[in-house]
Symmetry: D2
Subunit: 365 residues, 4 copies
């Protein structure tokens, strides 16, 4: 549930509500907007829910107390209607622009990383990706360069002027990764590693949370809820394909998750056609499909010489292919934005309103 | 396998090859192109394959004999490199334009159909859809108006000037449906109804083959192979979502099938976001995603008053929503085409070539 | 809904209820038990449901009118609490014994069939299986011997003394297959071929309905409902594996369907480990697992020389393997039955009752 | 690859081979059997593989060098043909007997645990289970009593005389859990938490590794490989259901994994019908199905008052239901073992041999 304060509520009123919540052994989360403040009540309530709602509704400055119908609370649009915009260095995710995260699957050497970083930056990428700690299905595969790779990434950030995203695999790595990287990535296999989610929820770095390949959209949002309820509001969701019976592709890219999530949550959502398809020839069409579906960004693996890559050789683009993708994707995104704005401006307002509310309701089952 | 004739081969040479194939109890399928003719050899070969290849290679006018590596033969790009373009009345599918099939889930009345037909035609749809025979999960649900609906569809075609697509559910219905409709649809539940596939393979009407919700891409192409090998080359594939563990949506739309299929087969491929998502608010973003993925067309359910619909009420658009979709989708498709042509023209030719051959190879597992 | 007649109701009362139902354009289905009669009301009711319930409840001889909570009606245990027992020649399915259907995937020759039939009969099989019309993924694979195979099957029945089950693929084949075979099989690809379901619903032969490899349990029961509501109450369900992401096996055998279905429906359920696993070494353990789960029978593919088989070579048992399976499976089933009866007899009756009612409730989601 | 030593090889010969392996930067794993010793060579070999095989084959005392065809090495039956038997206190897993792990989902209080422990011990359970650290989808659900629960578990072990299995969720918990518990459980969500797998690979406690609900059998064995290659050979696999499109059950229990794994690996495999089905009425039939499939054991959730449980209330058995299960399951398992031994003794040895080798080959795709 959350408490909506009256427009006229004072700071003391807000404090009074928070104290009442804390006194119950529950946690208040404040979401302030210019026109009014809302406070989510988080924790196990059991049988006292109804009585608590009544008690909070009676407090000074409270306009109303509203249940949150979904199991995810802080991440829901019900509680937080405006879209979250994540800012990191010069990059912005979720403001209507198109974020492009690009870089090699694994950081393999200083030279390989720098060559890629400069190439993707020149072509218009906004964030640099690169794996330092690599979760691999086999214990006998290349496991990443570790801290050495983190250092290269930090150097590459300075040279290319792009913030850096890289994966963190266990709670004890969070500090060192946060020291070097700008965005912490949680990989698909760790989406329900709750100790790790809680740990990244406590640092001052945005987190990119990849969907578990076997996870439902609801479980994914519950995983994001672990991070946000631990104190970190800057979560970016990344769709990277789910597991199905189809065998031509490594995974099945669930692009419908993009508009669904825009209705269910305020968090930005990007898509990763490299991991979803596993094949470089499919990356460009599926990146463009992601743009059509309304994604806030795209993550693409790029390697100067993909055939020599130590991991995921088959799915990485080379630099000319990446430039060719950008030459189509960026203007296509701009055109889509222009067209959407045009329709919103001219459509009878009821159509646009119905679309928006239908989208929010589309999450019901 | 298929036999590639020399550019200088005579008609008699072609006939000689066909006779040799028939003499083996196998069936020859000719694919003539301006520069040369190819003849596919279809049927069970068992142990005689190698000997047969040698024998055919030695015939007059034969340039070479080539195996077809995939289980689908006539539908493969290996045998038939140019894209198939299906023409029906004034509509064209697969020529680079965007086909828009629109209309109600079920034909419910003459008025309902005419109102929809005129509305979608005015908004730019190119083909009218409408269910006459409805396959329903429950024997107690509305099963369609049957032949009465076929008559309305034929009338609507004449009024709106759009060719008509409608589903056929069993071999004994093929003739009557072919009498009234321009394109025969095979529904998702009948994708492996081989008696039906063979029956529609024998009529002079294009067939739209929907993917089985539990079928792999390869099985889908094998189903198309049943139709083409029965004599009907005009098959349009339609992706409509597959079954996965995700429960927010009715199905999971497998858009990656679109670029994959463009590499594997010469048949056109359209997408159906209405059935894939089951929710009208998701139709527009997923139609645009389909455009981004490179689909040759979109099928959308439209009803003048969706909330009164006798079937699929939740997923049908009303006419203002359909117009709003078209206002974004048509110019977006045009822009994408322009951008792609531009990149192909300016990209170093090796990049474009590599993309094309990579796409064809992407079907390998 | 269904109408439960009072124990004292007369035949005229029953007739009165049926007439009232028919007068509404709905169909009555009578289920007579010694102690009382129930009449299901089948058809689209829409808004008149409540009024109709009241009206029927007021008729002479009616004890009460009860809604059926599930979408399947005639096949539900709510309406028909006793288990259906299917009898065909000397074989019985669903009476607590273990039905064993065995025979080749395809009938390939008179000799091959007779050798198999005699072998499986001698080992204790109760029903002979064999494919005459074969639905094959590829149009270029062996499609079965057709009517010739039907004749061999009828001959084999007479020699081996076993009733015969074989697949029917389209409505126009139903009569000829019913002429030669004792049980009509609907294959996995045709589970939602509603024309075919309706057609087999009209003949006087039991039907074995295989689960669609992509179908839910509820859709499977709805398919059975098509058959039963067309007039044929003798339906045997057959679990044969569903499609998942696992690739070591052809399908994933969903054995949990067995106890679930025993709660949801009165129809018998058998399992087919040959198609579910696709590998002969897995057939014995999974047949025994089926016995443990409570299946009413097992269907197994047996071929005298599996490596020469024209279809499904990898999954057919040879005769020694089949005999070895029977030597374990039959006494294991007998022991399980003995143990269950023992526990039911000694357990405090509340435990047994709770188990039964919990099982029926287990179908709720 | 692995090196098979001659029966006559000396200890010095074995040492010589190990040194040669270490000198390459690779790791030798020794598997000694009475008749001969084998040494697996573990690590990334890349291009030097062939040369290395030749070099090792030429060393003193080496009989032959054999490749391991599968990606899992130490866990494969190719390398280690005898079944691994895990012994912990008085319990034995994998020796042909039936291990029964039983206890509450979560340890909720000292009394609840003791009552359950004594009840399941009296009914014949061999290992006590109970959750101390609970991975929950929602951050707002009960997360377990933590270390307090560990203490209760240790006490319960002493009272009931049963070894204890409980879940560990992160590397930093491994030491404390290993201090109190006898078997460390890795939960389904952490199956690919490689940091955790490596950590439990370093302690002297058997590990029970649950299958990831979205993981293939091969990925599961690769996860086991992480543990074994870190130094811990005592891994028990636990099938607990995978995610499919079926919605009546929480997961789909993949029992075919049991015989498949018996062919692929030497590790014991148990099944968990409580989590696989999510419904208590389905636990008994699916436990018996697991016995039929050849499982080495069963894990069942038992709670004195399931309806009051703080987690998984719907799937826990109460004590009378557990006793009723045991009364059927234990004698059924004994009978199956007797029948199998009987068939093995009388069957022509070729049948038994073919079965075994077919089972090992069944893992090929």
């Amino acid at each position: 549930m959350f408490v909506v304060m009256a427009a006229t509520a004072s700071e003391a009123d807000v404090l009074g509500v928070k104290s009442a919540i804390l006194a119950e052994g529950l946690t208040p989360f404040e979401h302030s907007r210019p026109e009014r403040t809302a406070i989510a009540v988080i924790g196990e309530m059991g049988g006292r829910r109804a009585a608590l709602m009544d008690r909070l509704a009676a407090l000074s400055g409270v306009e109303r107390v509203t249940p949150i119908n979904r199991p995810f609370k802080l991440t829901s649009r019900e509680f937080h209607p405006e879209s979250t915009v994540v800012r990191v260095l010069d990059a912005v995710v979720g403001d209507g622009g198109l974020t492009v995260m690009a870089g090699p699957c694994s950081v393999e050497s200083r030279d390989q990383l720098f060559e890629t970083a400069e190439g993707v930056a020149a072509a218009g990428a906004t964030i640099l990706r690169g794996g330092a700690f690599k979760p691999r299905t086999s214990p006998y595969s290349f496991q990443g360069l570790g801290v050495e790779a983190l250092r290269y990434l930090a150097e590459a950030r300075d040279r290319a002027g792009l913030p850096v995203v890289t994966e963190v695999m266990e709670p004890s790595q969070v500090d060192i990764v946060a020291e070097y990287a700008d965005i912490l990535q949680i990989g698909t296999r760790n989406m329900q590693n709750y100790s790790l989610l809680t740990a990244v929820g406590r640092v001052a770095r945005p987190v990119m949370l990849k969907r578990g390949y076997g996870a439902t959209i609801e479980e994914w949002l519950m995983a994001a809820e672990y991070i946000v309820s631990s104190g970190n509001p800057n979560v970016i969701l990344c769709e990277r394909g789910i597991r199905t019976f189809e065998t031509y592709t490594r995974n099945t890219m669930d692009l419908t998750a993009v508009p669904l999530l825009h209705g269910l949550t305020h968090l930005p959502i990007i898509v990763d056609p490299s991991h979803a398809t596993g094949k470089r020839a499919l990356v460009q069409p599926m990146a463009l499909a992601g743009v059509g579906a309304g994604a806030d960004g795209i993550m693409v693996e790029v390697h100067p010489r993909p055939d020599d890559a130590l991991s995921d050789a088959e799915q990485q683009l080379d630099l000319p292919m990446f430039r060719s993708l950008m030459a189509v994707m960026l203007p296509l995104h701009a055109e889509l934005r222009r067209l959407r704005d045009g329709v919103e401006a001219t459509a009878p307002s009821t159509v646009a309103q119905r679309s928006r509310s239908a989208l929010r309701a589309a999450g019901s089952r």
